[in-house]
């Protein structure tokens, strides 16, 4: 939005790089918002991105210049509220247009206290982050020196457990499918629950729930959700997942994938600027077919640390990063990307069916709830 009333604002990166813009969205305290700057290359789906809890602690820069064109629709929220720390755009739509629109993106951001900056040369920002790596930033209407100081003192996400801020405080149930799945909520997206809920009754449990409590719910399978931050910092999860492996089929997505890998003894590392977009080609190692995937991760599993416990099932065709794995000795698999899409392509939704089949295979002989009723 380019209006004369717009207040000048600046975006400053931790390395001192400064961008001009105008303030938008919620007014941050003291005119300064901070977080780790990451860029996302989706051209549609900003609402899903902004409400994805995996962005906790981060400021999202959209590479597509017009953001907010079709407004915001309640059905597209991926969580109860946005957990990101801010939004950077080139042009924030003034008047949205779509039959599903409930409100404008700016009104939504204001309502949820998310600060934003518009008018930024987001391509320059993206090129910079691509070269220098993701880094903390500060933006707002405060003086440039104050923004600089704030950016410099802002901690990154490395070694930080951000899950506590996004996980559900209490267990809850959703879905009505015939199977029973316990889903660890590390910052779970609603689209995942919709997929799982179609095949199972899903009991969503807090991230720190001990393995024994999970097993006590006698699930057909355990799901490890996506979520924010550094997987290496979430050691309790590694231990819990380790105790579940072999007991029950396990499926993980994104952070869940990294945590499964860690539980299998593999290592994770931080990517220079991560994968955030809806167009990443992933190759399946079994039949060489390609799926276009939705991705959002800053960390990845080190391929050479997987064997002998697990094998790689999917690779990112752009840069070779591990995108999927299967445990060799226990019924567990995971993908780094987002088969639930939202936003993004639906190419990988078959993975949920794969999870269902795995659960069915392993629970055969044991009466399932659905069977009992039948």
């Amino acid at each position: 939005m380019e209006s004369s009333a717009a207040k000048e604002a600046r975006l400053v990166l931790a390395d001192g790089t400064t961008f001009e813009g105008e303030s938008a969205g919620a007014e941050p305290p003291g005119g300064i918002a901070t977080g780790e700057a990451v860029f996302n290359t989706v051209m549609s789906g900003y609402q899903e991105v902004i409400t994805d809890p995996s962005y906790a602690g981060q400021v999202i820069a959209f590479t597509y210049p017009h953001i907010g064109n079709y407004g915001v629709a309640p059905a597209d929220d991926e969580s109860r509220r946005p957990f990101c720390r801010g939004v950077i755009v080139r042009d924030l739509a003034r008047r949205p247009s779509n039959w599903r629109t409930a409100e404008s993106l700016e009104a939504y951001l204001v309502r949820h206290g998310v600060p934003a900056i518009t008018g930024v040369d987001t391509r320059r920002l993206t090129r910079h982050l691509r070269q220098a790596g993701s880094m903390p930033c500060a933006f707002g209407t405060a003086a440039e020196a104050d923004l600089k100081a704030a950016a410099a003192s802002e901690a990154g996400t490395e070694g930080v457990d951000l899950i506590g801020s996004v996980t559900t405080p209490e267990a809850y149930t959703c879905g009505d499918g015939p199977l029973r799945v316990v889903a660890y909520d590390f910052g779970i997206k609603r689209a995942i629950l919709r997929h799982l809920g179609g095949m199972a009754t899903v009991e969503v449990v807090p991230a720190t729930t001990p393995a024994e409590e999970v097993l006590a719910r006698s699930p057909d399978g355990v799901f490890l959700s996506n979520g924010p931050g550094d997987p290496a910092a979430v050691t309790y999860a590694h231990q819990n997942i380790g105790r579940l492996l072999g007991q029950v089929p396990v499926f993980g997505i994104c952070l869940g994938h990294q945590l499964l890998a860690a539980a299998l003894g593999a290592h994770t590392y931080k990517l220079p600027f991560g994968h955030h977009g809806g167009n990443h080609p992933v190759g399946r190692t079994d039949d060489d077919t390609v799926e276009i995937t939705s991705q959002n991760h800053n960390y990845a599993v080190a391929a050479d640390t997987l064997e002998p416990a697990a094998e790689v099932t999917h690779n990112n065709l752009n840069d070779g990063v591990v995108e999927g794995l299967r445990a060799r000795h226990v019924p567990a698999f995971s993908v780094q990307y987002h088969p639930e899409a939202s936003p993004g392509p639906h190419d990988a939704s078959y993975l949920f069916e794969q999870f269902r089949d795995l659960m069915s295979e392993h629970s055969s002989g044991m009466p399932r709830r659905g069977d009992a009723q039948a």
Partner: protein, 1154 residues
């Protein structure tokens, strides 16, 4: 899956001549395909009748057949070359239809040719509307309710069942010909009749109108492993009801939520899989109900299309190149992304800019057309613009169109809308016309609400709000002035796409914002705006097009300007040359000029220079990112070109390179007009002074006098009296034309005073600032000087010349170097006499009727003119020869429309040679180097024929005249003039009859010359029919006329056809039939009708219109009739023989059986 090893040789079919709906985008895709297939080691056999294409350069295929695109010809080519595979998906609808015809006739099976890319069953399912509908319903997709009809009764029945309004679409057609909307039984009857006629299978689809819904397209690719990707989504600004080729379209889709976008993507994949397009690109069109998101599939093209070309240019993803690779066995993940080089093609491009495509129409060429847009495509070209916002790309796109507009209003031409009240403005905007964007802005500027405007026009409110932001910014700018602008405000204006020319106009027009006094000081010039802006630190920055939104480092040479922090141009050192392209295709400036620009580029690259291309036409080879070393996708205006020059100078300076200069003479009028705005000394080749010398009537005349080269008598007039005085001196008929025109705009031949007075009156208003037809402004010029075209003034007088009747027109293309050597590229004799625009006339190399001595005189004059103008590069001279005396008509020291034809006919790469000469090489050096070869002459005859778009404009007279109206050209090559001419006619879509009856209706002045032609037809076994007067004359001269028809049923008052001079109906020898009825009866196979005058509805119009409706070839000159007779004679005596260009040009291999 690797490259297929079971195929060795592949036949690629091109799309033939440029016509509305099928333009140079298929040269772009075909050229890419040929290149790729060659690189992959296949033997490529190419068939295309269009000599102006890059793809038909002998270097792009092993065997290039410039032959008519008919099934017989293709069968002969296949027989001769025996390819194992046929790739039909890169030559538009033409190639697809031909491939299907070859398949249906069993030729492919018989000769063991496999169709690759798309199989016949897939093509049939996609193209046949009934099958398509069934297929879509089968996979759960919705299509608009509809029914098929094969005759009129059925059509009316279907209409009653579905309810009005309805859309009628003929099957197997391109560009929506014959399509239209019917609101009641009467209009359905008319539409259905036209549609059944247009469809090659006499099938029409009648469907529920979803006019007003939002229209989208997805460009999809699929490989053998069933991997599917979307390359680009496109949203139309114009809602359903306007053909997508006539719509303003925007990429990516702007107003779809991800939920909707992904379900559209799923639907597109289901569609391509169900149709069974195994490999390659397809485009799928959808409509979405703006009220509830209801999604319906409109159609699918199982081939590379105009939209694919746009999607390729919009994203940087080379669809045609990848499609060609997929067709020969690769999968997407095996093909590298050319732009990033390190990531595979199996991905979906993401872009960080907005692309807007705007059509360019030529309604001013076709008086009588309504100028209203509908489901039948009418545009002749398009421009594409990129910006970081829609507003920026829209304004850049509007100035790219070169219609004399500086952007979205805020220029002199906006005054057109000032007199309309709000209601009228909204009412007009509700009808889709070329003026709609301007009307929308004007309405929003006046405060008409977005909701009201959206309801009236069905343009999405998001787009309207973007336009409103332009209006609001304009109001803010109007409240300040040059001095009031700081860096931030400059950036805000420029980010919304305002041009310096708009700002100059705004600030020159408005009152002093402080005192409210009218501004009395000197007007603010564009130059002042630019220098103030640059002084404030608001310079254009160039961003790269990299397919990935900057996620990966890209070695991309492809750029667009915007106003941001960072510029991405990096110098590469070396000597660089900027080549200015020709902008959007239009009648008079088409693909031929792109050919010249691309050749210049190739030649200079080969010579080790860094080439920099500037153009805004997405349909062309020149805007392919690997044609040049660097591509700027930018409008061709003074401001935008200056930005490029500044960027290139800076890049050169920072990398130790040098900017050698700018080539302005390869792309037609568009770049030539910019020469004056370029820094002195940067223009390469012939000096701007020489160019002006050739264009300035007085100076040119005195030059001719000095050289003792005769010109037709004439003079210049700025008013009627002066014109009458000239004619008094030189006599009638006279050729009247405005100075500085393109494509013969508004040129006319007048035979008496009344016509002269009318022509002068029309010219007085022609091309003025509010005329709307001005072809290209001189950018930066102020109000009242929209281009140097039109309007009467001392600077722009009307040229009045004696018109040489029955003269032979001759065109010459030549090259001269700095040492003074001149090489004559080709001497072309026109088939139609002088008076028919050279672009609309057939022409022949070598000249079939000119005496050797006449040709020598012409060559001598050409050399003398080249010397006198100190030409460095190309020169085109037009002559008229009357009774062996040679008159010079005009000279243009620049690339001409005929350069590609000459090059194809003679094997001399004229444009390449000229480009090198412009950079200082001498012809002797180029000869030594091998670039300049001796012309191949004598063994064959080449005929170029024009292709006219009359079927698109049914109400327009088909007679040829001094105003150019052809959209494209074809070439026929064979061993005699007759054979080559016959091939050119077949290629142009007018197959000459082998027997039957020829109908003659001649103007008085043509009656005598028509005798020989008519008797030739009789000798060939044809019977003759004629209007009474013509019949009387022929019979008096001993030519038997079997059938005489009298007065027409629908005569204009002064007598129908040219039958008017007959003085009443003759005794009717055909049972009371009129000429129109005779043509409709199917009893004549060829019509020869020459017009009496040049009015838009002159006599004979009904005859020509009847011929056009019933698809009977109609010749409008006696010369063409003579040529046709020669063609029919030779055609009957010879077997159809096809031969490749390479064989013609490598004379050692040539053994011509006669």
């Amino acid at each position: 899956m690797p490259r297929r090893s079971d195929i060795e040789s592949i036949l690629v079919i091109g799309s033939g001549p440029i016509v509305i709906g099928q333009a140079s985008e298929f040269d772009y895709s075909g050229t890419q395909a040929c290149r790729v297939l060659r690189d992959e080691g296949f033997r490529v056999v190419l068939a295309n009748s269009n000599p102006a294409t890059i793809m038909t350069d002998p270097d792009f295929a092993h065997r290039t057949y410039i032959e008519p695109l008919s099934t017989d010809v293709l069968a002969a080519i296949i027989e001769r070359e025996r390819p194992q595979a046929l790739l039909p998906t890169l030559g538009g609808q033409t190639a697809l239809n031909l491939a299907m015809a070859l398949h249906e006739r069993g030729i492919l099976d018989d000769l063991g040719v496999e169709m690759i890319g798309a199989k016949p069953v897939a093509i049939a399912t996609a193209e046949n509307r009934e099958q398509f509908k069934e297929a879509m319903t089968g996979i759960g997709l919705t299509v608009p309710s509809s029914g098929f009809a094969y005759d009129l009764d059925e059509a009316l029945e279907v209409g009653d069942r579905i309810g009005y309004p309805l859309i009628v679409r003929p099957s197997y057609i391109l560009g929506g010909a014959g399509s239209g909307m019917a609101h009641d039984t009467d209009s359905l009857r008319a539409m259905a009749m036209a549609g059944l006629e247009a469809s090659p299978v006499s099938e029409i689809l009648i469907e529920r109108s979803i006019a007003g819904w939002k229209e989208y397209e997805l460009e999809v690719m699929r490989d053998r492993a069933d991997n599917c990707v979307v390359i680009c989504s496109i949203e139309n600004l114009d809602p359903m009801g306007v053909h997508t080729g006539d719509s303003i379209t925007v990429a990516p889709a702007q107003t779809l939520s991800d939920v909707e976008y992904q379900s559209m993507r799923d639907a597109a994949f289901s569609c391509i899989r169900r149709i069974g397009v195994e490999t390659g690109g397809s485009n799928i069109q959808f409509a979405v109900n703006p009220l509830d998101g209801d999604l319906v599939v409109i159609e699918m093209n199982p081939r590379v299309s105009r939209s694919s070309a746009l999607a390729s240019k919009a994203t940087g993803f080379p669809i045609a190149k990848v499609a060609a690779r997929l067709a020969v066995g690769y999968t997407l993940d095996e093909i590298p992304n050319d732009i990033t080089r390190r990531t595979p093609a199996s991905f979906e491009p993401t872009i960080d800019y907005v692309v807007t495509k705007l059509p360019r129409w030529a309604f001013e060429k076709f008086p009588g057309t309504a100028g209203v847009l509908g489901t039948r495509m009418q545009s002749v070209g398009e421009a594409m613009a990129m910006g970081r916002t829609f507003a920026e790309s829209l304004q850049k796109g509007l100035r790219s169109l070169e219609h004399g507009r500086s952007g979205l209003n805020c220029d002199p031409a906006e005054a057109l809308l000032d007199d309309l009240d709000d209601d009228e403005l909204v009412r007009r905007a509700a009808v889709a016309t070329p003026d709609r964007p301007f009307q929308l802005e004007a309405a929003l500027r006046r405060g008409v609400g977005i909701d009201r405007l959206a309801a009236a026009t069905r343009v999405d409110p998001w787009f309207l709000d973007q336009i409103a932001q332009i209006s609001e910014e304009r109001a803010r700018l109007a409240g300040t002035n040059l001095e009031g602008m700081d860096r931030r405000s400059w950036r805000r204006a420029k980010r919304l796409g305002f041009s310096d020319a708009q700002l100059a106009w705004l600030w020159s027009r408005h009152q002093n914002p402080v005192t409210d006094d009218p501004v009395t000081e000197a007007p603010v010039t564009e130059e002042r705006v630019r220098s103030a802006r640059l002084g404030a630190g608001a310079a254009a920055t160039f961003k790269a097009v990299d397919t990935c939104g900057a996620e990966f480092e890209a070695e991309t040479p492809y750029h667009h300007s915007t106003y941001e922090d960072e510029d991405e141009i990096v110098g590469t050192g070396g000597r660089s040359v900027v080549i200015l392209g020709s902008g959007p295709n239009r009648i008079g400036q088409g693909i031929e000029f792109d050919y010249c620009c691309v050749h210049a580029c190739f030649a200079l690259r080969e010579a080790g220079l860094q080439t920099v291309m500037v153009n805004c036409n997405p349909e062309t080879v020149s805007t392919d990112y690997d044609t040049s070393d660097r591509l700027y996708f930018e409008p061709l205006t003074a401001e935008d070109v200056a930005n490029v020059i500044d960027a290139e100078r800076a890049a050169a300076a920072s990398s130790g390179g040098t900017l050698e200069g700018v080539i302005v003479s390869m792309g037609g009028q568009t770049p030539l007009k910019l020469a004056a705005t370029l820094p002195a000394g940067l223009v390469l080749g012939t000096s701007p002074e020489s160019i002006d010398l050739a264009e300035d009537r007085e100076r040119w005349s005195s030059l001719c006098a000095r050289l003792e080269i005769p010109q037709p008598a004439g003079g210049t007039a700025t008013n009627v009296d002066e014109a009458l005085a000239i004619v008094e001196r030189i006599g009638y008929p006279a050729l009247v034309r405005p100075s500085y025109v393109l494509g013969g705009r508004a040129m006319e031949i007048v035979y008496e005073e009344q016509s002269l007075r009318r022509a002068m009156a029309e010219l007085a208003t022609f091309g003025g600032p509010y005329d709307g037809t001005a072809d290209g402004a001189t950018p930066g010029s102020r109000a009242g000087s929209l281009g140097r075209e039109g309007g009467l003034s001392a600077e722009r007088p009307v040229l009045v010349d004696r018109f040489l009747e029955d003269a032979i027109e001759v065109d010459v293309d030549a090259v001269r170097d700095a040492s003074g050597e001149v090489v004559i590229g080709g001497v072309m004799e026109h088939v139609e006499e002088a008076g028919v625009h050279s672009g609309d006339s057939a022409c022949v190399i070598p000249p079939p009727t000119l005496a050797r001595s006449v040709v020598e005189v012409i060559e001598g004059y050409t050399s003398a003119i080249a010397d006198a103008l100190d030409v460095r590069g190309l020169l085109n001279v037009q002559y008229a020869v009357k009774q062996n005396q040679v008159f010079v008509i005009e000279a243009n020291p620049r690339a001409s429309r005929t350069v590609p034809f000459v090059s194809k006919a003679t094997g001399v790469p004229l444009a390449k040679v000229a480009a090198r000469v412009m950079l200082g090489a001498t012809l002797a050096e180029l000869r030594h180097e091998g670039l300049l070869r001796a012309a191949v002459n004598g063994g064959h005859v080449s005929v170029k024929e024009a292709v006219l778009p009359f079927s698109r404009f049914p109400d327009v007279d088909t007679v040829l005249g001094p105003e150019m109206r052809s959209t494209g050209e074809v070439m026929g090559i064979d061993v005699t003039f007759g054979l080559a001419f016959a091939k050119s006619q077949i290629a142009a879509g007018d197959e000459l009859p082998e027997s039957g009856s020829v109908f003659f209706s001649l103007a008085d002045r043509d009656k005598e010359s028509g005798v020989a032609a008519a008797s030739r037809f009789v000798e060939l076994g044809f019977s003759l029919a004629a209007t009474a007067g013509t019949a009387e004359h022929l019979e008096r001269r001993g030519v038997p006329v079997e059938t005489v028809v009298g007065k027409l049923g629908e005569d204009p008052p002064d007598g129908g056809g040219d039958g008017g001079e007959d003085g009443g109906p003759e005794p009717d020898r055909y049972g009371g039939m009129t000429a129109v009825e005779l043509i409709a009866s199917g009893k004549v196979q060829l019509v020869v009708n020459t017009p009496k005058g040049m009015g838009s509805r002159a006599d004979g119009a009904y005859i020509r219109s009847a011929a056009s409706v019933h698809k009977i070839p109609c010749l409008t000159t006696v010369a063409a009739a003579r040529a046709a007779a020669a063609g029919i004679a030779d055609w009957g005596r010879h077997q159809l023989s096809v031969r490749s260009l390479q064989e013609y040009l490598e004379r050692s291999q040539l053994q011509l059986p006669l």
